[in-house]
């Protein structure tokens, strides 16, 4: 059965070799894409970092306290570095997608693509955090200055409360952006907010009962 040998043994080999022959250029192409992607990623990282520093994004994040936060978390680079890193990985991942795509590994490509789609959200979230937390600081200063000028004691405390509130919202928006936690966090936040409002209402209600009564008396005097 020479023919059988042929068909049974050589045909698969031939097919395999043909497949290998088909794959090889694609593999080479994929490797080339990866290398080029890596280089591009390095360039992009450098450019992004320089660009952000040129517009003083680093000053913004430093003032917002994010750099300090990161440093406390053991991360060597600052936020600007982090953003540049995200862009670096974005390009790397894009290169990987192209590479794997050219190899026809669509499943891996799909997985990578979802990662790629996630990264911009992270970027946006970082920017939101940076600007938001700077804003929170600014609100702190403004509120504290306002109350201080109005001769209110605890002006600093009120400022800090305002900052915390703004910061809480900013964090929620950022989390929402990266779609982490979702409903759970949203509901938890609602419960906490409702609790705070209820507590305040109760506090003012009990503490200001007499005052409220007086006010009512003035507005709608009871007929004698």
């Amino acid at each position: 059965m020479p023919m059988d040998f042929d068909t049974v043994l050589l045909e698969p080999l031939r097919v395999f070799l043909r497949q290998v022959g088909d794959l090889l250029p694609r593999l080479v192409l994929a490797v080339v894409v990866l290398i080029v992607g890596w280089i591009v990623a390095k360039v992009v990282r450098f450019a992004i970092e320089r660009g952000l520093r040129a517009v003083n994004f680093n000053v913004l994040t430093e003032r917002a306290g994010m750099d300090g936060f990161l440093r406390n978390g053991g991360i060597e680079s600052d936020t600007t570095g982090l953003v540049a890193l995200v862009f670096y990985w974005l390009v790397i991942l894009a290169a990987l997608v192209i590479g794997f795509n050219s190899l026809g590994l669509t499943y891996i490509t799909d997985v990578l693509r979802s990662v790629i789609l996630f990264l911009p959200r992270v970027l946006v979230a970082i920017v939101i955090l940076a600007v938001g937390s700077y804003f929170a600081r600014f609100i702190d200063g403004a509120v504290a200055a306002y109350f201080r000028n109005a001769q209110v004691q605890d002006a600093d405390l009120l400022g800090r409360i305002a900052r915390t509130a703004v910061l809480a919202f900013v964090i929620l928006i950022a989390l929402d952006q990266v779609q982490v936690g979702g409903d759970l966090i949203r509901q938890t936040f609602l419960i906490v907010l409702a609790g705070v409002v209820f507590a305040l209402a109760l506090a003012f209600g009990i503490g200001g009962r007499d005052w409220a009564a007086e006010l009512l008396e003035r507005w709608w005097p009871r007929k004698r």
Binding site: V55, N56, F57, V59, L60, R63, Y134, A145, N149
Partner: protein, 1118 residues
């Protein structure tokens, strides 16, 4: 340590009068004698010939006597002499009853004597004013004798005013109410009544008769031809008579006056007519006409009101009468006076005021006569010197030409029991000898007895005694007149009263062109404060004219002064004088620019702000570099290129250090240190106030307002520096590093000491700025010196300071405590920015001490020479020379310290070889060439300089020492300003070297005799500066230079011999005489340096080194 910097070869930073100031006073010099308006600046001395000096011992003063006393009058400082009538007369009215208009009363001399008097007066620059008594004559006058005998209606009769009845001219008042009952007197010869406004023996001339006027004009020309400069027209309102009027100030009278003036102007353009019209100002005004009647008129109402103001302690009377005084034509002038030969007339006051004046000044009925008080100034003021001076100060500063009555300058008294007004006409009191030194006649022969009471008598009050007493009325009056001469504003200026709330203060401004003089007088018997509104003169510096002391400058706020009882000030409101050195401006000026910051220091740096602020940061930075820093630096004394415009000051390097910004901008090619501070009004008001004088801009950040200022005035900054130096801190700048380097001395400070330090004094010098740091418990502790110009290289001051403190242990210098160094990328050597030294308690530097000493010496000498006292020759300068011996000893010891080998190659002495001397000479010669080239290029042709060849020859002629000599490190810029006096000893400071030479030069080893030469030159500078100051006070002093020359040569000798002794054995020279050549060379080198320095910086001072050079070259030639 009130150190001076090394601005000048001799102490420039402490140098006395601002050259501009001198120029200003020189510009206001008195008018030249030929000025036709001389009477506007005149001070007139009123004198009676019979009362001044008796030359022939007949008991009556005469012209020869007066002429012999002209020196006294000229020395007083007046510019004109007014003679009371000296014509032949029966003397029934003290000469005002003239019986011959063309003669001199035989008692007083002859017309020849008078001519001699006029000649001598002119020789002394004195003008002569005489009396023209033409309203009336004596009844002895030939005109009257002819008239009474001539038939009624005849020509001769018509020279006088006749009437058959006393009913004519009924509306006319009687002036001498005490003696006359009518203006008409019956003449039995003429069988008619004749008209007389004064005594009955003084018939009035009839000016309706043109012949009378013609005769008067002839008389006027007669005296004018003899050289009389001015005529006082006696009783001028009464010339003409008209029925139905009060017969005063009639239009017909003015017509006569116009004719007299026209006749005089036609022949004598620079003569003066002075109207005596005892009238209210509005009635006197017509006597000036439109500048075509009298040149001058007495301001009668002002006089009693000055007395009244002092009596009532209220300025109102004076202010009121001056407001009522009309303006007079440009060429006219008021004549003002305090007292004269008549009674202090009270005609020109209301009857209520008269009662008040009588009660205050003439409680004794005997002192009253007619409508006035017959007393002299001193008794009126109860002999209170302060009140007499106050009255004189008012007189000399009110608008008009003041008239001084003879004797009042020494505070003479009166004798109210002598009858009529003779009590104020007693003999001048010259000496305590017989007849007051006035005459050698028998006392009973005198025309009037001199005043002899114990208070005012001639034994107590006389010229001889007062001339010898530097603080006497006489010397005070001379001083005042000298001061008044400095400015024409006193005579010609516009008068503006200030209206301070305190009514006991009379304050007014006399203004002439740009010149303004502020006069403030306390009319009360107790000390008074006053706040003056002088906004109009904002920025001017009041300079007290008697002592030439600068006061803090005027600003927006009321200017506060305090005056002692009956005290007064005259201030020149100078535009060119320096405010006092210690003055700190505490108010920001309106023009200070405002910067809006958003992030403190970060606001200036584009890469340190949030993204949306980048544009703003760039703009702020540009404003700092092109507006604020250039504006500030350009005005600082330490800016080495003063006068050059500063366009930009880009920050070449900087660091935000703690709360401060160390700015190191580059200005016109040189780098400077400007530490900056921000201070906020809300939280640090004190700090803001302290920084006001050093403010570059106001700043605002949101609701916070504050200032951006030079941090040197900031206490917290100075403390932080001290801490950082002691803590050996470091700070990275944008392009380099700041190093804080302590010495062992820092160990003396505990941390809490540093916290307690306060900035007590700030000094701005020409190359550096320094602050004293004081602790409340321990007094002055530290001294921080900021070198403003960044100069890389080893700083000799810190190097020498270290050597003397730590190696040589020389006790008479200031211990070094540390420094701040700036290491710049690409520079081999660091630059010393700040030096921290221990503070040495002291009484100021040698320069100021010497100048003050010389001022005092000259003042003493002046008063001694007035009294013709011999100044004892030997020990005049004894105390000062002892001090100079100490100075020379310390100098020698310093050089001994430098001459001792220590193993440090930077300091070890080296032998001074022939080659060294040759090289030195070559350098000095090159500098001489350079100096002459510079002077030629700067157009200093007016200064006297020896020929260049002579100078070069003089340099060559300096012999090199024969014996061994050393070249060592030395001070390098040694002068009186570089030594501080402490407890009669000296501390040597400032080892920086001459500031305009490179740092390396001051580290060069040369013969230390250069220091000796520097000190000798400094003595020379002190001499000239003292002379300038003394001449300002009294330009007439001529003998001062000889005295100062003697002082300089004695000081030189003393210094040199003490130095030679102290430096003996150091090896610097074998024996001092051998080193004289080196000393001469060093002196030449120094004086050439001074010439270059003055040419570049203070051209007004160049006469000092140019004279010095001439002296040195000449001295060597001998």
């Amino acid at each position: 340590m009130s150190s001076v910097s090394t601005a000048a070869p001799t102490p420039a930073s402490t140098a006395s009068p601002d050259p501009g100031e001198r120029a200003a006073t020189a510009g206001a010099a008195p008018a030249p004698a030929d000025d036709a308006l001389w009477y506007k600046d005149a001070v007139i001395y009123q004198v009676h010939v019979k009362a001044f000096f008796d030359s022939n011992n007949d008991g009556i003063g005469d012209f020869r006597g007066l002429t012999s006393k002209l020196d006294y009058i000229a020395d007083l400082g007046v510019s004109a002499v007014w003679l009371l009538p000296f014509y032949p007369s029966p003397l029934k009215d003290d000469g005002y009853d003239v019986s011959d208009y063309r003669g001199v009363h035989p008692q007083y001399g002859t017309v020849g004597d008078f001519k001699q008097f006029v000649r001598e007066a002119r020789k002394r620059g004195l003008r002569v004013i005489t009396e023209l008594v033409v309203n009336h004559t004596s009844d002895q006058h030939p005109w009257f004798q002819a008239a009474r005998r001539a038939p009624p209606g005849s020509k001769k009769r018509n020279w006088y005013v006749w009437s058959d009845t006393v009913q004519k001219y009924q509306g006319t008042r009687i002036i001498f109410t005490d003696t006359e009952t009518s203006n008409w007197t019956w003449d039995p010869v003429a069988k008619a009544y004749y008209w007389h406004r004064f005594f009955s023996h003084q018939p009035d001339l009839n000016f309706d008769n043109p012949n009378v006027l013609k005769a008067v004009l002839r008389i006027l020309r007669y005296w004018a031809d003899m050289g009389v400069d001015g005529f006082r027209l006696d009783a001028i309102p009464y010339l003409c008579e008209r029925e139905g009027t009060n017969n005063e100030n009639l239009p017909e009278t003015h017509a006569i006056l116009k004719q007299i003036r026209a006749a005089m102007d036609a022949h004598y353009p620079d003569r003066m007519l002075l109207a005596e019209a005892n009238q209210w100002p509005e009635d006197v005004r017509p006597y000036f006409g439109d500048g075509d009647e009298c040149h001058m008129a007495f301001h009668f109402p002002l006089m009693p009101r000055m007395y009244m103001a002092i009596a009532q302690e209220d300025r109102h009377p004076v202010v009121e009468i001056m407001y009522q005084t009309p303006d007079i034509p440009e060429t006219c002038q008021w004549a003002i006076f305090l007292r004269n030969h008549d009674e202090l007339t009270l005609e020109m006051v209301t009857s209520r005021e008269r009662d008040y004046m009588y009660r205050m000044y003439a409680a004794d009925m005997q002192a009253r006569i007619n409508l006035g008080i017959r007393r002299r100034l001193a008794p009126l003021m109860e002999n209170d010197p302060q009140r007499i001076r106050l009255m004189n100060s008012l007189l000399l500063s009110m608008p008009g030409s003041p008239i001084l009555y003879y004797g009042d300058e020494i505070g003479m008294g009166d004798n109210i029991y002598l009858g009529d007004r003779n009590g104020v006409r007693t003999p001048m009191q010259w000496t305590p000898d017989r007849n007051a030194g006035f005459s050698r006649a028998d006392p009973q022969r005198l025309y009037l007895p001199p005043v002899m009471d114990p208070v005012y008598g001639y034994e107590a009050v006389n010229v001889e005694a007062q001339a010898r007493d530097p603080s006497s009325q006489l010397n005070w009056m001379k001083h005042m007149l000298a001061v008044r001469r400095q400015s024409r504003a006193f005579g010609r200026g516009k008068l503006t009263f200030l209206r301070p709330g305190n009514r006991k203060i009379l304050a007014y401004i006399r203004e002439l062109g740009d010149e303004a003089i502020l006069c403030v007088a306390n009319l009360s018997r107790s000390a008074q404060p006053v706040e003056l509104d002088l906004k109009r003169f904002k920025g001017r510096v009041p300079v007290e004219m008697l002592g030439r002391t600068a006061f803090p400058p005027l600003g927006e706020l009321p200017y506060m002064l305090t005056l002692p009882a009956h005290g007064f000030y005259w201030f020149r409101l100078a535009t060119n004088a320096q405010p006092p050195e210690w003055h700190l401006e505490l108010l920001l000026s309106e023009e200070t620019p405002v910067l809006v910051l958003f992030d403190l220091w970060n606001s200036f740096f584009r890469d340190r702000v949030v993204p949306w602020r980048i544009g703003m940061a760039e703009k702020l930075r540009a404003r700092l570099e092109t507006e604020l820093l250039p504006g500030y630096i350009g005005e600082q004394r330490w800016f080495s290129r003063k006068g050059e415009p500063v366009a930009a000051a880009p920050l070449e390097d900087w660091v935000v250090w703690e709360r401060w910004l160390f700015a190191l901008p580059r200005v016109n090619g040189e780098q400077y240190l400007v530490p900056l501070a921000l201070a906020w009004e809300e939280t640090e008001d004190e700090r803001v106030k302290r920084l006001t004088a050093l403010t570059l801009a106001r700043v605002r950040q949101q609701a916070n307002v504050g200032v951006l200022a030079d941090a040197i005035g900031d206490e917290t900054f100075c403390r932080a520096l001290v801490r950082a130096i002691c803590g050996r801190a470091e700070a990275a700048t944008a392009h380099g590093r700041l190093r804080f380097v302590p010495t062992d001395y820092c160990a003396h400070f505990a941390q809490e000491d540093v916290e307690a330090l306060e900035v007590s004094r700030l000094h701005m010098h020409s190359s550096n700025t320094s602050v004293n740091l004081t602790s409340a418990t321990q007094g002055d502790r530290l001294f921080l010196k900021f070198y403003r110009r960044v100069r890389h290289g080893i700083n000799p001051e810190s190097e020498v300071g270290r050597f003397l403190t730590e190696v040589a242990k020389f006790p008479h210098c200031v211990p070094l405590a540390g420094c701040i160094e700036y290491v710049k990328e690409g520079e081999e050597h660091p630059a010393t920015l700040v030096l921290m030294q221990a503070y040495v308690p002291n009484q100021g530097d040698g320069w100021n001490y010497t100048l003050n000493y010389l001022d005092r010496f000259l003042e003493d000498h002046r008063s001694a020479s007035i009294a013709n006292l011999e100044v004892p020759g030997e020990d005049v300068h004894g105390g000062f020379l002892t001090l100079m011996t100490t100075l020379a000893t310390r100098t020698g010891q310093l050089h001994q310290a430098f001459a001792r080998p220590t193993g440090d190659p930077a300091f070890d002495p080296e032998p001074l070889t022939e080659a060294d001397v040759r090289a030195w000479k070559a350098r000095v010669k090159a500098e001489a060439e350079e100096t002459y080239a510079l002077l030629a290029s700067r157009n200093f042709s007016h200064i006297r300089l020896p020929a260049k060849a002579t100078v070069l020859a003089a340099i060559d002629a300096c012999p090199a020492p024969r014996g061994p000599a050393l070249r060592t490190r030395h001070h390098g810029d040694y002068h009186l300003g570089q030594v501080l006096i402490a407890n009669n000893d000296f501390v040597i400071i400032d080892f920086e070297g001459e500031p305009s030479r490179p740092l390396e030069d001051s580290r060069r080893k040369l013969s230390p005799l250069r220091d000796v030469a520097g000190m000798l030159r400094s003595f020379n500078y002190a001499k000239w500066s003292a002379l300038v100051r003394a001449r300002e006070a009294d330009p007439q002093q001529e003998k001062l230079l000889a005295e100062l020359d003697a002082w300089e040569s004695r000081t030189r000798e003393t210094f040199l011999s003490a130095y030679a002794a102290a430096a003996e054995g150091s090896g610097i020279f074998q024996d001092f005489d051998d080193a004289r050549g080196l000393l001469a060379l060093a002196e030449l080198e120094k004086v050439l340096y001074e010439l270059r320095y003055e040419a570049n910086n203070r051209p007004d001072w160049i006469h000092i080194p140019s004279g010095g050079l001439a002296g040195l070259v000449a001295g060597q030639g001998r």
